[in-house]
Amino acid sequence: MTQRVGINDFVVRFANVNGTGSASANNLFAKAIFRMGIPISPKNIFPSNIQGLPTWYEIRVSEEGYLGRREGVDLMVSVNPQSMLQDVSSVKPGGFFVYDDTKPLSPGFVREDITYIGIPMTEMSNKTFTNPRVRQLLKNIIYVGGLAVLIDLDINEIERLLTEQFEKKPHLMADNLKALHLGIDYVREHIAYPLPIRLERRNLLSDSIMVDGNLGCGLGAVYAGATVVAWYPITPSTSVAEAYAQYARVHRVDPETGKHRYAIVQAEDELAAIGMVLGATWAGARAFTATSGPGVSLMNEFLGLAYFAELPAVLIDVQRTGPSTGMPTRTQQSDLLLAAYASHGDTKHVLLFPSDPTECFELTALSFDLADRFQTPIMLMTDLDLGMNDYVTRPFAWDDGRQYDRGKHYSAEELTELVSYGRYLDLDGDGVTYRNTPGAHPSIGAYTTRGTSRDEYARYTEDSRAYKRNMERLALKWETIKGEVPKARIYEPEGDTEYGMLFFGTSTQAAEEARDLLAKDGINLNAIRILAFPFGPEAIAFIDAHRQVFVIEQNRDAQMRSMLLIEAGIEPTKLVPVLHYDGMPITADTIVRQINDYFTTKHRDSHELSKTSI
């Protein structure tokens, strides 16, 4: 058997039972690698229940900085008998299988082509600790210690992390250290170490941070001055509101009075949440909600009102695997069509697509400017993978010179000077009209906001011409928006090629890696990353400039491709769908495989997919 070899380039997977405290041990392990300056990307694969079912934590270590998911496990840490059979089979040939050999391995689990490493974690933990809950928790720290030795993980980093964590709880510290060293000592004594897959310090990440996207969103909302948050719990969006709350408690509470410069309401449902957001922005605040697919479905009616009555709103959609309740703890990019055209009648909505936690922060903050500027909902299309997994990412940054852009908005003084005020008068010819704040002026500016048709002065009307003028102005506003949303990022061209790839959000890391892999195989692709809907002219130009563009997305129905067809007048055969939709984050392999397939089959010139329903 040839063992897998690799320095700073492998995948470790932990197989645990949820509700047993494995998460913090696994995080400790990941963070220690990060502290060694080696790029990693951890992924939590957890069930939609609270306790007792299999859960996995997977870390890809990649010195080259490929942070998409990679298929196949090099090192499996199996602590869950329930899933052991499956776990054994997911190890790559030549890989390693670390398990709890308190009980002997059943012969059915033995493969010839992988290396088994037993560590009696339970036994050691039970011998050393008495409290059953503590035994369970520290069993996890034992395997961290053992692994550290096996792969040359810097033990000082682990100890330092534990010190930081238990600063205020020294009694816990001692037990944790003891457990750690039980693992270390056991492996040092019984097992040949290090393994051929192992770590070497690199210090590549001096500036980077390791954080999840939902935190970025919540923090971005605090920075952007959101004061009203209305939400309803739903996986995987819940931690957005929690992150906002966490930072608001630190930065928005008056130290003297204890009074809050923010208000968070856990609404009774998603309809109420978005209703509260619209009420708040109507009254002049910045407000947002965070939800996932089912919530967006429920918000449909209100989103149409916001579009038509022109109310700002920020909605963070942390997408999960649909349709319906689907797989609530799996990822997908499949709410695009719904979000883009939410609600009955002719509606279009602005979407932003962050691809890492730093962009979650930046684009969330930007959303509030865009919402105020264009008086319409802005939806941040993130997903479970980005929202709930830690990413190694650029640090958050804020320019203190930056000012909130509140858009066209008359102050009381400006109102006084007006001859007449028309809420929906297009004074600048860009489709964007002037708001004012209820209560600001005693006699000028009052009007009624409504979902029914009205004229330029916000007066109710059923006049066909007034209705049409308004709809045309909204279409004009849409054109204006195209030039103001973040531009697509076009990558450095890759040699001379007629082929391009287009991707967005959490498909980015895998797509970038796939591009490199394909280039190595001699297939050069130019690349563009979409950051916003509606698409800017640069995105259309990119597609126009290529013979064929692979559109990479994580859904079944090629939803981004559909939006490109609808909005950009692109010939369908030009856009080749590359789809992944099983709920797991997309991998470079999947992309490479599909693109290779395309080039090696007849599809090349008249690919079938574009002619059938995909």
Partner: protein, 349 residues
Amino acid sequence: MSYLKPAFRHPRTPKNKIGNTLKDYEAAMSTLCAGCGHDSIGMAIQLACFELDISPHRIAKMSGIGCSSKTPAYFLGRSHGFNSVHGRMPSVTTGANLANKDLVYIGVSGDGDSASIGMGQFVHVMRRNLDMVYIVMNNGCYGLTKGQDSATADLGSISKAGSVNAFEGIDLASLAVELGASFVAQSFSGDKEQLVPLIKAAIKHKGFAFINVISPCVTFNNNAGSTKSYDYVRDHREATSAIDFVPEEEEITASYAEGESAQVALHDGSVLQLNKLAQEWDPHDRLSAMQMLYGARERSEILTGLIYLEQKPELHETLKTATVPLIDFSEADLCPGAGALEVINAGFR
């Protein structure tokens, strides 16, 4: 006190203390059916605001969808309004109030809007004790969609089309008491003498003030056999007390025999003077309010007047939001800035 004679008089048009005439509280011509109860309620709201010397621009008119929810177009023309979607006025008002606590929020809704599609939000806005006035213009039917029975239609009530309602009606007043609304009253669109002081008290109440106003639909539910017709309501109403609103600065002069009257203090010091009290009714006791309502229901009476009142933390107090409206904070107040972000970044290294 009568709404016909404002205390302060002017040779031609009477002005209130802030110099506005009643005209300043009026709006576009109503497009409701002539005689619709909803219009009378709108007029009562205007009058209450005029007499309370509230500047119209400090009032926000909130509504859902229905004939009732259209009325904000026909009263308080100098106030901002938000005519939202069907059944969702409570959430919109909650958001608005969180953003700017200093406006007076007057929400109007219909029985369809509140008791059917809006039931969930209606319940929860009460639970949060949002500081607002919430008026249901209750006609027992869906006026705007041509008269279907609503969930407040009484069992056995006959619609204009002749159908007999086969479901028990939801009693919004007892529901509100049950759900902890801090001010609950019931009235009749045809009784301004009672309605105007109740609206004033509701405005002065700090917290959720609910008034269920029976407001006949002349077009679809004003026929014989309907329990929401003008005639029926006139014949069956029974007041918990006579009622006077006394602004804080006025002295209370009338005197009544012991046990027959009571004064209920409102948040800002003004007082509701209740005269000829119903027996065994304590407006501060939930169970007593419930008993009154159940008793009246048994006797096929429509209980009107103040029903229940309680002082308890409204939403801003519960959430500990700042004294200043949230919309008044500047960027400097809200944004932690680059320095803080450095510290935050450090925590993720």
